[in-house]
């Protein structure tokens, strides 16, 4: 249930869980994927009582396909450099802790794509996916728009951003009011202090991320309850958001500008077609203990505490990502945390959800965690064909190179899904050349027309037996095999970029 139970299944504490389900683990092949920096844990289960799930699939191919396609989505609307996007999701946690969100800025021409990966419950990821794009919209808003918001002429939660695709928005109206108020405050302050000048997209992104995290953290402070600004159930919701956590990655695409703001271990990789070769260009760094500069950043902020902070490759031996939204256990002061424990209005069982030791051991100089994104800027060229943003669930199974190859192959195979018809006046030689090229592509024709589903299937299998085995893992142990997977693939319109490119260079 918790993100921090994602541990080596061979350690003493959890081996028992595994063993109750399968008597022996015949082959253990913990693999380390250097390229993605993620742990790739694959081992085969063999059991005397239960038939091998790979050899004897319990699902039919039709069942597997319908499960994989349950959450798929494809939007074929061209918007600026974005030709179309597809996404898909597969849960491991119940309920799923991944979220995603997409939208266009109403004022301007930018598109936003976000993938968020929650931990310790889905509350924080839900809140971030609901709110972050609007925060970015406010941070990007120019002076007169901010003024309109302050006048009440514009509603910052609905009028700045046009959501696209499926969105599961928050339904709790009380909480929505709280969130809206925080956003309005942000708009007011932005107008007063540092409104968007159209240049520093990077700064705007950083400030939106930081501001949202600050709001999440402060909304949950016990003082809000005591001050009477919130009723009890609403306050519990803000607590749930603040005590769970989320990482995420947001792509901001405007013209040929692509900004990638990343917090934590979701990743974005660009598929570049260079001289008939496909190249994977990572546009984000993962913020976990595998990244030495991240470790160094934290230890520099908390001198002399290094051995206490990063234990077992985790923050306080518990948390994998080293940057995150929420997770106030690593952000609030010790006093605030203790105060919360002693707040009489909060029944003990509410807090016990977050573990016996609410305050981490040797918790000296908080905050240890923040949500400052690392922002990368990339100028799109006609060679950039697509962008894959996905939660670590995917990258644990597939390397970025493999992902790019798969998407490229799928793209190729998709081209030949359309029946070829020769142009009027084409000679047979020309026709034959086109057909010969298509012949190569025909081999890439995939089972799934949705690229994200194709990736998902490849990540789990791709053989039917393997996918079926993955999908039939019982709930208590499925998390040892895979994390929630969320995949968004954005396809770029090379013609559009080429046009822009030419204008740009002129």
């Amino acid at each position: 249930m918790y993100r921090w139970v994602k541990v080596n299944p061979f350690d003493g504490k959890h081996a028992k869980v595994v063993e109750t389900w399968c008597r022996t683990i015949s082959t253990a092949m913990p693999k380390r994927n250097k390229a993605s920096g993620a742990n790739l844990i694959r081992f085969k289960l063999r059991n005397a009582r239960i038939p091998d799930a790979v050899q004897s699939p319990r699902l039919t191919p039709q069942m597997v396909t319908s499960i994989l396609r349950m959450n798929e989505e494809a939007v074929e609307e061209s918007y600026g450099p974005v030709r179309s996007y597809v996404k898909n999701q597969l849960q491991s946690n119940k309920p799923i802790e991944d979220r995603s969100a997409q939208g266009h800025l109403v004022h301007g021409s930018a598109s936003l794509f976000g993938v968020f990966d929650g931990h310790g419950g889905c509350a924080c990821a839900q809140a971030v996916s609901d709110r972050l794009l609007s925060y970015i919209a406010v941070a990007m808003a120019e002076h007169d728009i901010l003024a309109a918001i302050n006048n009440g002429k514009l509603d910052p939660t609905t009028d700045l951003l046009q959501h696209i695709g499926d969105t599961n928005r928050l339904v709790n109206t009380d909480l929505a009011t709280v969130h809206k108020q925080s956003l309005a405050n942000f708009a007011a302050e932005a107008m007063a202090i540092a409104h968007f000048d159209g240049e520093s997209v990077k700064d705007a992104l950083v400030s939106a991320f930081l501001r949202l995290d600050r709001d999440i953290v402060t909304e949950a402070l016990p003082s809000n309850l005591q001050g009477g600004s919130m009723d009890m159930s609403c306050y519990f919701d803000t607590l749930a958001i603040a005590f769970s956590g989320a990482v995420g990655c947001v792509a901001y695409i405007d013209g040929t500008d692509l900004f990638l703001a990343n917090v934590g271990d979701t990743q974005a990789v660009l598929g570049v077609h260079n001289d008939n070769r496909w190249e994977a260009v990572p546009l984000s760094d993962t913020h976990n203990a595998d990244n030495p500069s991240e470790v160094e950043r934290i230890t520099r902020c908390h001198p002399n505490e290094a051995p206490n902070i990063i234990k077992n490759r985790r923050l306080f031996g518990e948390l994998v990502p080293l940057r995150a939204f929420g997770d106030v256990r690593y952000k609030w002061t010790k006093t605030d945390l203790k105060h919360l424990l002693n707040t009489k209005q909060i029944p003990k069982h509410v807090m016990s959800v977050f573990g016996d030791n609410l305050i981490p051991h040797k918790y000296r100089t908080p905050p240890y965690l923040d949500a400052e994104p690392e922002v990368m800027h990339h100028i799109l060229t006609p060679k950039d064909k697509f962008l894959v943003i996905a939660s670590d669930g995917l990258w644990e199974c597939l390397s970025p190179d493999k992902v790019i190859q798969l998407v490229a192959g799928h793209l190729d195979g998709q081209q030949v899904l359309v029946n070829y018809k020769p142009n009027e006046g084409a000679t047979l030689k020309e026709v034959n050349e086109v057909l010969s090229n298509r012949r190569v592509s025909l081999k890439n024709r995939a089972l799934d027309s949705n690229t994200a589903t194709h990736l998902l299937r490849s990540a789990l299998g791709p053989d039917h037996g393997q996918v079926s085995a993955q999908l039939t893992l019982p709930q208590p142990i499925v998390r040892f095999y895979r994390d929630d997977i969320t995949i968004t693939v954005i396809f770029f319109d090379s013609e559009y970029i080429k046009d822009k490119d030419i204008k740009h260079t002129r």
Binding site: V416, N419, Y420, K421, P422, G425, A426, T427, L428, K429, V431, N432, L435, S436, R438, R439, L442
Partner: protein, 901 residues
């Protein structure tokens, strides 16, 4: 559309098929004088095809007719025309749409006379002559005698062409083997640098297919045939197993005969027979061809090119070129049956699929590279499991004929097919030997839809892909397996398929997979890789003992309350079957012309009970012949017990001892006479019928075992036979034994046009036993002479390792004059020479068969024989009796039998 998943296109303009254009193309009267109208109609102005109906205007359906033909395509119309030509004018042709609207209208219109067999050639030549004659009469079928050129990229293809050439020569079909340089001269647009050579057939041509159908229709109607359009056949009603009436969308027609020429629809139509469905095994497959816009410099009389090593063919078309082909991995279509309405329609073209052919087309004719596309045509055509036409009366219903399954050679075949089917209906048999096309060659499983679809992968490309002699199919395998199948598989059996029955052809030797044998081939024109294995098995049969699985043989039981069954069989068989109980008789069942309708081994199990064994290939035909002649009172009971019994053949001099060891009977020749049978126990299995015969001329037994005991019996024999040197043997060994021993097999050597008198089996005909079918014809032959004589030839100056092998169908020359073709061939290991069996005839100068007054003298006296294998003539030594072999037997009768305790 009616059929889910099938995209049908109504063709739209501009199209090459506008009816306005089609009939007016290629008005080529004679070579040298061409009035071809180059295609000049402006793009887009040709109207979408509104077929000009040349059929009878709607009028009430006749109440009855002698013959109802279903299908107004070129074949159905040809049948009607030929019936009318012979005076049967009370014929109705029903077409559900418009005449030619199914397949005929998009046919490419090639008429090639160079076919696989002599009969094929005779039929297509008949068609070609008919069309030429019409063109000369001014009927306008667009005949263009441009000749055709079949080219070879490989040496094997060259052998194939030379074999065809050899047969063509015996028929007077003009053809010429040409070199690449000569090919270049005949057709300068071809690329020839990778060719081995070719075959040039100047008499071939091309025409406009729908026009041919129109002429058939016109001429038939002039004689009184009614061609009625827009009337579909809903059902065929039968009474007592005969056609009685046809239910149509416009009312019922009572009729005597029904002809199913429904092309793509004929399988489905067959199913709509009440009360007994008729199996018409065929499946539709997409066939592609491409038509270019005019190419400057195209010779309107460019020959038809067939480059089948690249799967493609070409013809000139309206100043452009037409290129199509028969690609491997084709796309079967209409798996759920064709849509009811599919008139003048094509299928969605799939350029990606066509690419394989396009590459080959551009490779062979580089001039097409710069050509523009006029249209890519994807038209469905029907194909049969063995790529041969489906003709004749069906096994299921009497008077129900089929003329369908044209395998993309409908135009070339239509004339000959119409003629033969019309003769078949009128005379009860066709005038040529239709054995290979007879629909009774199939049994029920062949009509399985999935089997048919799988088989399309082989029967569609078969037109182009070189098929070696006796090459087995790879699709639709492992359908019928004997109980011994897995044992044989483990023993290294290589299987062949007959009527879907898997039969071990030979058992691999240990060194078969060794590197020295790497380049030896299973399918070839020369010595095949199984030769040594078959040789081992052969000698084991001659000198020791072999077990051979004979389960595939068709088996029938006939029974009656008292002796009605004896009378029934006496009437059918030419031999006397009223023999002692436990006796086996080889007998033919003759038709009224004396020909073999069945050649069988009958065992009398009881005074009123007979057991009958027929070749596996003839299961359907043998059943039909028996069933059609059964007494109407139901006194005789006929059962097909093929699946109930497995057969194990114990062949060889040690067979007698081996069987004695595992059973409790005496197997000495005096106690168990040859050609007798006994019900015995073998091991712990009871109820095994043991018969002392082997079908090979060697001593031995066939055990017919209730199938579930077969494995037990096999295992017992195998372990008991260890010290006798027992081993498995396959059908190649059997074939070599029987060919060397001059045993004719029905279905291979003998057919319904061969009499016992002609194959040296006059001694099996008992003229004094009373009347039987065909007696008069046989008496006539006995007294006045036969048409042909079955002869055993041994090739001389022949090297089995180096020379091309004869495989059957090779021309026999007697004193330099063609005297017929071989039927089956095989190496005689004991004779140490290649043996060919075949019929010798006496053709006069016009090619008409003469009666042989004294056939022995004609064959043996003053005759020098040669056999032509792909152009090389080998001298051959004839014999009309089994030649003496230099083999010393250990006669088992001299070995004392073991003492029974």
């Amino acid at each position: 559309m009616g059929t889910a998943g099938v995209k049908c296109l109504k063709i739209t303009s501009p199209s090459i098929f506008s009816r306005r254009i089609l009939p007016s193309t290629f008005r080529a009267a004679a070579p040298g004088y061409v009035k071809t109208r180059l295609f000049s109609t402006a793009e887009g102005d040709s109207p979408s095809p509104e077929p000009v109906s040349l059929a009878t205007p709607p009028k009430p359906l006749p109440q009855q007719a002698r013959v109802v033909v279903c299908g107004g395509g070129v074949v159905g119309l040809s049948v009607a025309y030929h019936l009318a030509e012979r005076g049967w004018t009370d014929v109705v042709v029903l077409e559900q749409g418009k005449v030619t609207c199914g397949t005929t209208w998009h046919s490419v219109g090639l008429v090639s006379t160079m076919k696989a067999t002599r009969t094929d050639m005779a039929m297509t030549r008949y068609s070609a002559d008919l069309y030429k004659q019409w063109e000369a009469e001014g009927e306008g079928v667009g005949w263009k005698q441009c000749g055709s050129l079949n080219v070879a990229r490989t040496l094997d293809r060259m052998i194939h062409l030379k074999r065809q050439h050899a047969v063509a020569k015996t028929m007077g079909v003009e053809s010429q083997v040409v070199t690449p340089a000569e090919i270049q001269d005949i057709c300068p647009v071809l690329r020839v640098d990778d060719l081995q050579g070719g075959l040039w057939i100047p008499g071939d041509g091309a025409l406009t297919a729908p026009d041919v159908a129109m002429v058939f229709s016109r001429k038939a109607k002039a004689k009184g045939v009614q061609v009625i359009e827009d009337v579909g056949v809903e059902k065929v009603i039968t009474e007592n197993g005969r056609v009685s009436k046809v239910v149509t969308s416009a009312g019922n027609i009572k009729c005597e005969y029904f002809v199913n020429s429904a092309g793509l629809w004929s399988r489905e139509l067959g199913k709509r027979t009440d009360p007994r469905r008729v199996n018409v095994p065929l499946h539709a497959c997409e066939h592609y061809y491409l038509v270019t816009k005019p190419i400057t410099g195209t010779n309107p009389l460019m020959p038809v090119i067939r480059d089948y090593d690249g799967y493609v063919y070409f013809r000139e078309w309206n100043g452009g070129l037409l290129g199509g082909g028969f690609e491997p991995s084709p796309k079967p279509c209409f798996h759920q049956g064709p849509p009811d309405k599919f008139e003048f329609q094509l299928l969605q073209e799939d350029w990606d699929h066509f690419q394989v052919l396009l590459t080959e087309i551009l490779h062979r004719v580089p001039a097409m590279e710069t050509a523009e596309i006029r249209q890519l045509v994807n038209g469905p055509e029907s194909f049969t499991p063995d790529s041969r036409w489906l003709l004749g009366e069906t096994a299921e219903v009497a008077n129900y004929f089929v003329a369908t399954g044209m395998n993309s050679s409908g135009i070339a075949g239509a004339g000959g097919v119409g003629k033969q089917v019309a003769d078949w209906i009128i005379d009860g048999r066709p005038s040529l030997n239709m054995w290979a096309y007879d629909i009774r060659r199939f049994i029920g499983h062949h009509n399985n839809k999935r089997f048919l679809r799988d088989r399309m992968q082989e029967s569609f490309p078969a037109t182009a892909v070189l098929k070696y002699p006796r090459e087995e199919y790879t699709t639709g395998r492992k359908l019928r397996c004997s109980p011994l199948h897995t044992r044989q598989e483990v023993a290294g059996a290589v299987f062949g398929e007959t009527m879907a029955y898997e039969r071990a052809m030979y058992f691999k030797l240990d060194d078969d997979d060794s590197p020295e044998n790497e380049d030896r081939r299973m399918w070839t024109y020369t010595k095949p890789m199984w030769f040594e294995a078959a040789q081992e098995e052969y000698w084991a049969c001659k000198e020791r003992v072999c077990l051979m699985d004979m389960s595939s043989f068709a088996k029938f039981e006939l029974e009656s309350a008292s002796e009605e069954v004896v009378d029934f069989l006496q009437k059918l068989c030419s031999n006397d079957i009223d023999v002692d109980i436990g006796t086996i008789v080889h007998t033919g069942m003759q038709n009224k012309y004396g020909g073999f309708e069945n050649d069988t081994t009958i065992a009398r199990l009881d005074h009123n009970h007979f057991y009958m064994i027929c070749p596996a290939t003839q299961q359907s035909r043998a059943w039909t012949w028996l069933a059609r002649h059964m007494p109407q009172d139901g006194s005789v009971h006929l059962r097909d017990v093929t699946s109930m019994f497995s057969g194990i053949n114990i062949i060889g001099p040690h067979a007698q001892q081996l069987l004695a060891d595992v059973s409790d009977i005496s197997t000495s020749r005096s106690d168990f006479r040859p050609m007798s049978c006994k019900k015995i126990d073998v091991g712990s299995a009871s109820g095994v019928w043991a018969m002392r015969l082997t079908h090979t001329g060697e001593d031995g037994f066939i055990l017919y075992i209730p199938s579930e005991y077969a494995l037990h019996v096999y295992d017992i024999l195998m372990s008991a036979g260890k010290d006798y040197g027992v081993r498995n043997a396959g059908y190649y060994a059997l074939r070599h034994l029987r060919i060397e021993n001059f045993f004719a097999y029905w279905g291979l050597d003998l057919d319904d046009r061969t009499t016992p008198m002609e194959c040296g089996r006059g001694y099996r005909v008992k003229f004094d036993k009373g009347d039987f079918i065909g007696k008069a014809a046989l008496e006539q032959q006995r007294d006045h002479g036969v048409n042909k004589r079955f002869v055993h030839f041994q090739l001389e100056d022949y090297d089995v390792n180096l020379d091309l092998w004869p495989w059957g169908g090779e021309p026999i020359y007697r004193n330099g004059r063609n005297a017929g073709l071989t039927t089956t061939c095989g190496f005689g290991f004991a004779l140490d020479s290649m043996v060919c069996l075949g019929f010798v005839r006496d053709f006069d100068d016009k090619g008409v068969e003469q009666i042989l007054k004294n056939s022995n003298d004609f064959v043996m006296k003053d005759a020098k024989y040669e056999i032509d294998i792909a152009g090389t003539r080998f001298p051959a030594k004839p014999s009309i009796y089994t030649p003496k072999q230099n083999v010393t037997y250990v006669d088992p009768s001299f070995i004392p039998a073991p003492q029974k305790v």
